[in-house]
Amino acid sequence: MQTLNQALFIFFAVLAVASAILMVTRRNIVHSAVFLITTLLSTAGIFLLLEAEFLFIVQIILYVGGIMVLFVFVIMLVNLDVSMRQVQFNRQWFVAGALSLVLALQFLFAIWVGRGALHLHGTDMQIAPKNTEAVADALFSHYMLPFEIASILLLVAMIGAVVMAKRRVG
């Protein structure tokens, strides 16, 4: 079982990184959207490997099934050829390059420092067996208040969106 888990983990990790890179470099927006979806799916795969199936499901339904659908909607409706014509890389690419270099160095440093703790066989960490129940209990018992506040916030956001849309159309 051990080798299978590891093999899957490596597969998902490589997939995630590769599609992330591909997403950034594509010229055609729809292709980059699809690669974003593959990234999200591979992270969901990793959740599953960690036996956090509730997160796996939420990741798929929420991110890929919900938010990304709206992304693709917007991509189709927005007027593409104008943005196509604008020059993709304006003159500040030099500054951008330098900054990303600095960031890369920091990442490397962090990995180098923590190399001791990082061992690949992370899958046998013990998480509460029944993931869904565990999440539910935590959510509705200890973190009741934040949960309610979050839901009200979402409600307000939804109503706001509808009102804005109505005014534009009306």
Partner: protein
């Protein structure tokens, strides 16, 4: 056979076998559902339906499949090749993936996930990409409009269907398909009866989710020609077609498991059934039914005009006899085996009954306009589903606190939901009586 396969792969063998069986059977099943649809449509419209290929058109699906494979596979010139090839693939894989959690019989299930239902919902919600990307890739005005419309429709009706399922989960208590059916068997009542509104909303939601019948706007022939499928032809089109029918079977499967008691025989009291103390007549029903079909097809065999059709008819009769034999044999087998075989039969019977309801609705109702469709979804179904969930919740509290019986506690809440439904429906669509009066 167990020692032949190294232990580390052992848990994967049975699911793989089941998966292969399902993926092989599915295209055939989809083909025969198409034939069933055309036959049912025909006799509803006072005509015969396909009679030419094979006796009573029984070989029609094979002919369709061959035709689709031989057809030229056109890609529109300026279409986005990668996406054009990728889109139907997405919708088919998502449709097939959903089968992994479906429990056809007590034994016949690829993977008994403890989040079975949620997994199927998640995967079917990914099916939208196949449609949306397909519409975009074929780079034609009509298919883009069709794709956008169907995406909007799917998203809005999924919420309604999801809420309907939640109301059942409150009663079932678990997400795994097997436990849900077990709960229905323990409570001795099918959830379809205890949560009628949940069943109704899910029925409407599932029709909309598979783009069928009054909600088949995306490929409404009259305005958008064929919606997102316009530019597809040949094998690619058949992939979409297969995905649609696979979705239909999944949706029917979910409805059967949740509302019609999965593989339970009507009035099943499995735990009281003591083997060998006389067979309840209901158990014999499956065997008798298939026997009847076998005899009927035998009687039809001589009347077939063409010799080859006679042979095929006889083959069909022999096949039915075989199935009847198995079902009858299972009666005397140990209960586990009997449950397995009969369970599968009852499950398939209910699935086909559900699909028949799909077809029935499809041929009686005209098509909804897009804004009416959306209005029905958002202003009628989703609020009703919310009220239904609250109703079931209240019923459960009543049962636990005041210890009312399972049925007694559900009655008041269902009536409450009925009241809300009447209120919502009042202003939604113009009531029929109103406009018959004016103008007369």
């Amino acid at each position: 056979m167990g020692h032949l396969i190294p232990p580390s792969i052992m848990p994967f063998v049975l699911p793989v076998v089941y998966a292969v069986v399902i993926v092989a059977v599915l295209p055939l099943l989809a083909g025969y559902i198409v034939l069933m649809e055309r036959k049912v449509m025909a006799d509803m419209q006072a005509r015969l339906g396909p009679m030419r290929v094979g006796p009573h058109g029984l070989l029609q699906p094979i002919a369709d499949a061959v035709k689709l494979l031989l057809k030229e596979d056109i890609i529109p010139d300026k279409a986005d090749r990668l996406m054009f090839w990728f889109a139907p693939l997405v919708s088919v894989t998502m449709a097939l993936l959903a089968y992994s959690a479906l429990a056809i019989g007590p034994a016949f299930q690829i993977a008994d996930l403890n989040i079975g239902l949620l997994f199927i919902l998640a995967v079917s919600s990914l099916g939208i990409y196949g449609i949306v990307l397909g519409g975009w890739a074929s780079n034609s005005h009509y298919s883009l409009l069709g794709a956008l419309r169907s995406a909007a429709q799917l998203v809005s009706y999924e919420t309604a269907a999801g809420l309907a399922l939640i109301s059942v989960l409150l009663l079932a208590g678990s997400l795994s398909m097997k436990d849900i059916v077990q709960a229905q068997s323990d409570q001795g009542v099918w959830f379809g009866f205890s949560v009628p509104f949940g069943f109704f909303i899910y029925l409407v939601g599932s029709i909309a989710e598979t783009n069928r019948a009054p909600f088949d706007l995306p490929e409404a022939e009259s305005e958008l020609v064929a919606g997102y499928m316009t530019e597809y032809s040949g094998f690619r089109w058949s992939l979409y077609f297969l995905a649609e029918y696979a979705n239909m079977v999944i949706v029917a499967g979910i409805a059967t498991t949740l509302f019609l008691g999965g593989w339970l025989r009507p009035g099943a009291r499995y735990h009281e059934h003591i083997p060998g103390t006389g067979i309840e007549w209901l158990d014999a029903l499956p065997a008798l039914l298939t026997l009847g079909v076998a005899l009927y097809s035998l009687s039809l065999a001589p009347k077939q005009p063409v010799k080859i059709q006679k042979i095929v008819m006889v083959l069909v009769a022999v096949l039915c006899l075989g199935v009847a034999g198995i079902l009858a044999g299972a009666l005397f087998a140990p209960p586990a085996v009997m449950q397995g075989i009969h369970g599968a039969f009852w499950f398939m019977a209910k699935v086909f009954a559900y699909i028949y309801a799909f077809l029935w609705i499809r041929f009686t109702f005209p098509r909804y306009r897009f804004d009416q469709l959306m209005r029905l979804g958002w202003r009628f179904l989703i609020p009703l589903a919310l009220v239904n969930v609250i109703g079931v919740g209240v019923a459960i509290v009543l049962r636990q606190q005041l210890a009312w019986g399972p049925i007694v506690s559900l009655i008041p809440t269902t009536l409450g939901t009925l009241g809300v439904a009447m209120f919502l429906a009042k202003d939604d669509a113009p009531t029929v009586a109103a406009h018959l009066v004016d103008g007369e």
